[in-house]
Symmetry: none
Subunit: 422 residues, 2 copies
């Protein structure tokens, strides 16, 4: 069988019972992927001899490299080393260098060395010992039947230190891998299936070496484009061409790339345009203000917000006339517009943004079902409001409303920019 | 081979390249574990025919139940259904009920049905179709060679709906497992290591059939207690005894059980005490208001809030005298107290809660380092404020402040109750 790719194995009962989320694996996968080292599988198994043995045999049959984390700590539930000795043939012996390292590690911290800790210096006599600068348990490296195995401790910062200092450089140089150029295009303003139809021709033209993944969440669809090639330059330029072409089709929907956030992009736009903003929220209950202020440095553009949940607060603090609410209802174009206009004036900002809607589960009517949300937007020159119908789940409605409100602010600057350059 | 246990398989390139963390699997593992349904392995694989085929064959050889998520959305990167047909024998046919469900799903939202969406009604003719109330793609259930397979969409809330409504009840009734009585005790107000010391004697006395897990997050520590026994009654009564004893040691720290949230508990307390509340937030930027309004029905007690980020808003909208800010600084006991007092008066509520602090990363000083937060609390009878020092991480600071503010409200009602019964 032709062995290839990487299997990541996480040993630990705490993952299998859902007590912790396997963030080690996703960190490793991200780092390996950025070096075009291809991953076959991510596997989590129990702290048992049987599970470890079966997983190592199974992955050894198909993978070129097996990266194992966990099961190397000082406490009793760690049986990895013994199992590995039985499987790969080998005896546990004291490694003098590791022993010295463990000892000095404890002396430095003014703590006594226990039997449990000194056992960390026991390693199989047939492995290469990889020094762990961040902790006491070393990593162990085996090659058997053309498969490479590296065993690392499961403590995140120890694993990360070993990956960065040794695993990634070592295997990057060993492997001849095709280069993968990758970028994630972030869009907002159109649902997954409509977006897929709109860009179907572009998608069909991507070619065999390019793959596309849709990653939807409320109010956003991320598009991950990957181009594989033996030639780095070709992959990079092909990727840029695809993104350029995509931009021609959906210029208004794209708000950023990779790890950008809508609130971060909006923050940049407010900063670079020297603009300030205030929020008037009803159904989103303060979440727009929270998102805006989650960005470090937001105090330069975010002045303040009013969560006007009760209609009395809409009247008293946002100066919405009682008659307007009576005539049109609190969830209406008129109220959304006035909320945005008035909060801008009250707080003396360049922009006002507002939400009023029915988050659910109750409060809906035939005319205004749960999920009906008006988003208002005001500057000194314009006042507008738009109606949306999101759905019947309270939490999703709120998130969807917030993303849409942030996207409304982004589009304002985008169209302003288009006015100038267009 | 004697098949046993459960394999969870997550399909998705985005997991293998580390773009998203596999939280679906840990949620599923937690729910299955709470019903004593044993998990063998958690596996993540690529969106490819080869990877899906190999994983299904491999897990089918050893597991009694295989739960698969992902690869059932409307876009092209989803090839699961075709692969399953080839592997299990079967043809894709239109399921009339699903088609009708998909159609009404779109009509309700006032949107057109696309070809991609109507394809969701295509299901293998040899599976049992499990209705997905939360979305359009149904789950599919197969039994082959004594292994049960369930395929679910990867969208978290759709998967959760299917697991809760069908998968867990169905397989709980099929399997004979030792009974596990389990409850998670939710605490707020003391860090993990101090809490561990405080309850160490209780922990030592738990006995062999009981296990304890600490699950810390900013401002909260959850304690999950599991008692295993062949006898349901014995397990249940042992668990209740442990919880009773724990309550004797830390009565004030426990705010709820299992899936309770602090905002939900606070909502119940406000409702049952017929009290209303308003928020005045600076460093938390609206997140307290958002948490309070995330509870359905919160409009009966949450009246409104002011996010006074800029000092001008603290003055203009919360009537904090400029001289007070100049003399004591915006992050001070005096300002926190006035914010809580004034927002209560302005909005006419029973309770006012406030935050003012330095979220970071900048803005700290030797006197008031990043992480300094004052939380103010006011009723018609009392005005108080307390200082906290959380840490240097912006996001953690915000979350920690919000949890602490919510816990402050909870403790107010707790002490009121103690006054009456004491």
């Amino acid at each position: 069988m032709n062995k290839k790719g990487i299997d990541i194995i996480s040993i630990g009962d705490e993952i299998l019972i859902g007590q912790i989320v396997n963030t080690n694996s996703s960190w490793m996968a991200d780092k390996l992927n950025s070096k075009a080292l291809p991953i076959n599988r991510i596997i989590a198994i129990a702290d048992s001899k049987k599970a470890i043995t079966e997983a190592l045999i199974d992955s050894g049959n198909s993978a070129k490299l097996v990266l194992v984390t966990g099961g190397l700590g000082p406490t009793k539930d760690d049986i990895t080393k013994k199992t590995v000795c039985e499987l790969f043939g080998g005896k546990l012996i004291v490694n003098k260098e590791v022993e010295e390292h463990v000892r000095s590690f404890f002396i430095k911290r003014g703590r006594d060395l226990t039997k449990l800790n000194s056992d960390q210096a026991l390693v199989p006599d047939n492995c290469v010992v990889i020094f762990n600068a961040q902790g006491t348990a070393p990593a162990m490296y085996f090659i058997k039947d053309e498969t490479h195995y590296v065993f690392m401790p499961g403590v995140p910062f120890e694993m990360k230190g070993l990956m960065t200092s040794w695993v990634i450089p070592h295997f990057s140089s060993l492997c001849e891998v095709p280069y993968i150029a990758q970028k994630t295009v972030l869009t907002s303003g159109m649902g997954e299936s409509f977006l897929a139809e709109k860009i179907s021709q572009w998608e069909n033209d991507l070619g065999d070496n390019t793959s596309l993944a849709y990653l939807p969440s409320p109010g956003k669809v991320r598009l991950r484009i990957s181009v594989k090639s033996d030639k780095k330059e070709l992959a990079d330029s092909t990727l840029e061409k695809h993104i350029y072409n995509l931009h021609q089709i959906i210029p208004d929907l794209i708000y950023g790339y990779n790890n950008d956030t809508l609130e971060g992009i909006v923050g940049q736009l407010l900063t670079s345009n020297n603009s300030t903003i205030a929020t008037a929220e009803s159904c989103t209950g303060g979440l727009i203000a929270h998102k805006l202020t989650s960005i470090a440095g937001s105090s330069t553009y975010f002045i303040g917000g009013i969560t006007a949940y009760n209609n009395s607060i809409k009247q008293a603090m946002l100066n919405i006339p009682e008659s307007t609410i009576e005539e049109h209802g609190a969830v209406s174009e008129e109220v959304a517009k006035l909320m945005a206009k008035n909060v801008r004036e009250i707080m003396g900002t360049d922009i006002g943004i507002s939400t009023t809607g029915i988050a659910g589960p109750s409060g809906g009517s035939e005319d205004k079902p749960v999920g009906t949300v008006w988003i208002g937007f005001a500057t000194k020159d314009t006042i507008s409001a738009k109606k949306y119908l999101f759905g019947d789940q309270r939490e999703r409605n709120t998130n969807w409303s917030v993303q849409t409100a942030l996207n409304t602010i982004r589009k304002h600057f985008k169209s302003k920019h288009d006015d100038i350059v267009g």
